[in-house]
């Protein structure tokens, strides 16, 4: 006999705030986390006491901390409730939070992701530790060099070298992400717990997919962006797939602008679909660890501000885009819309 299982609850981003400063020297990281978390909760009409769980994500190697959830739980409002830290990448914290609520573990989650690279004397130096310690570390690898290696696969034969501002051929400074000190915080809630007092309306999470490719760039073709295609296939296996052809806006965090362009071109988007309307990698700075979370939440904001009915965020992580995550947000909770819609109460939040 087959027992009928209840459908997983629908989940929405009900508030989303960010604190982005080129170089924050007047506040500690924990103060930034506290202020941003507090504002995200307030925007949802909640306090820390109302939240069912807290999910954190930071890049401890560049921030100069270790197992930083120990010191960050307090400023994030996590004392007295379950706190989990996701080390792989900031966007995975959002995915984990979504899964947590879909599985019935609570009704609300506060997600907080951060990076404060200004506290590292040399963030690129810290990135060297990301190379495996057997062969690659003796050579040396950082995000910029890995991005350039990937981009060389796309450089046309005979293409003229970049101008004087070349950082690592074929990439110039304009092609590469800029860093900033950032904290992003969002509150997720299940349908029955979308707070009535929220100053922002819900951006419903319509689905997500994520995947990881092989670590070594030499063991894969970084130009193929296979992790993205696997993530899209994962997304398609969801219970309410939203094909890219129906996305009205896309936000992409990638190792370089050529990587953004190739990812966008692979999606099969309708002509004219805005890509990275929130800014180029240079103009919307974020350290790599939190860049994906930033773009996913930018897509959610695009929906919550009414600029698109359906928007997707894409984040790559790891050297030359080893991993990829896709999350789709909708003004309506399901295809075609139904009784659940935040259209009338939507407003964006942006503290930058």
């Amino acid at each position: 006999m087959t027992r009928s299982e209840p459908a997983p609850p629908r989940v929405a981003v009900v508030s989303c705030v960010r604190d982005v400063v080129a170089r924050e020297e007047g506040r500690s990281l924990e103060e930034m986390i506290f202020e941003t978390s507090h504002r995200a909760l307030a925007a949802a009409g909640l306090t820390a006491a109302d939240v069912g769980g807290v999910v954190l994500s930071g890049n401890d190697q560049t921030d100069g901390r270790v197992i930083s959830c120990m010191t960050s739980a307090g400023p994030a409002g996590g004392v007295g409730r379950d706190v989990t830290m996701i080390a792989s990448s900031g966007e995975h914290a959002l995915v984990y939070s979504w899964l947590r609520l879909r599985s019935g573990q609570g009704e609300t989650v506060l997600v907080v992701g951060w990076g404060k690279p200004s506290e590292s004397v040399s963030p690129e130096h810290a990135e060297l530790v990301s190379a495996e310690p057997y062969v690659l570390r003796a050579v040396g690898m950082n995000d910029t060099i890995a991005a350039a290696l990937q981009a060389s696969r796309w450089a046309a034969p005979g293409a003229p070298p970049a101008a004087d501002d070349v950082v690592a051929w074929p990439l110039t400074a304009a092609d590469l992400p800029a860093r900033a000190d950032c904290v992003y915080a969002a509150v997720l809630a299940v349908e029955s717990a979308v707070p009535a007092g929220a100053s922002t309306g819900p951006a419903w999470i319509r689905g997500a997919g994520w995947s990881t490719d092989r670590y070594e760039p030499g063991a894969r073709d970084p130009a193929a962006q296979a992790a993205l295609h696997a993530a899209l296939a994962h997304l398609d296996r969801g219970d309410d797939p939203v094909p890219a052809a129906s996305w009205e806006a896309v936000e992409i965090a990638a190792p370089s602008e050529p990587a953004v362009a190739h990812a966008a071109s692979a999606l099969g988007l309708p002509a004219g679909t805005p890509v990275n309307a929130s800014g180029s990698l240079r103009d919307a700075p974020a350290p790599a660890h939190v860049a994906g979370l930033a773009r996913l939440l930018a897509a959610a904001t695009t929906v919550s501000e009414g600029r698109a009915g359906v928007a997707a965020g894409i984040g790559f992580n790891g050297f030359a885009g080893q991993g990829a995550t896709v999350m789709v947000f909708g003004r309506d909770a399901v295809s075609g819309g139904d009784a659940v819609s935040g259209r009338d109460t939507v407003a964006g939040r942006d503290a930058a």
């Binding site: 004397v121 062969v135 690659l136 050579v139 040396g140 350039a148 950082v167 690592a168 760039p217 030499g218």
Partner: protein, 153 residues
């Protein structure tokens, strides 16, 4: 009531040391460099020859089975010529490439020497994806991946 103060900072440097166990496979790979040999391992499932040698194939989640010596020449898969200084890396400019050596199925990373990097167009043309390079070895091996590099073939 307290008055505002200038931001204060606490500068710290941690001198942490690690001693990573390389395992048998990587140890043999690095020992091969001192003999001017590039060694790979074959995956029994996909039959790819993985270079640098790994004890497992992460595509098939299978233990590799056989040692394979590959050629010391191959083709460039990707490359860059770095012009910005990064702490902990060589003074720029320098070139870095991944090349698939003849007989291998994955690409090996290494610096590229023997190029005039002050002539960027010429250096880029020499390293174009698909061009051939050869492996050169240090006369004074250190037992690390710094014991080899690529040169245009």
């Amino acid at each position: 009531m307290t008055s505002a103060v200038e931001p204060r900072f606490y500068t710290q440097t941690w001198d942490l040391s690690y001693r990573h166990a390389l395992g048998d496979t990587t140890s043999r790979f690095l020992a091969g460099l001192a003999e001017q040999r590039i060694l790979g391992r074959r995956c029994p499932s996909c039959e790819r020859v993985i270079v640098p040698a790994r004890s497992f194939c992460d595509r098939d989640h299978t233990a590799t089975s056989d040692w394979v010596e590959v050629a010391t020449a191959g083709v460039v898969e990707m490359f860059t010529i770095v012009h910005e200084a990064f702490r902990g890396l060589p003074d720029p400019p320098y070139a870095l490439a991944y090349a698939t050596l003849d007989g291998a199925d994955t690409a090996l990373v290494g610096y590229v020497r023997g190029l005039d990097l002050t002539d960027l167009p010429s250096a880029v043309a020499s390293l174009a994806v698909g061009n051939r390079v050869r492996v050169a070895f240090s006369d004074t091996p250190t037992g690390t991946a710094a014991d080899y590099w690529f040169e245009p073939a």
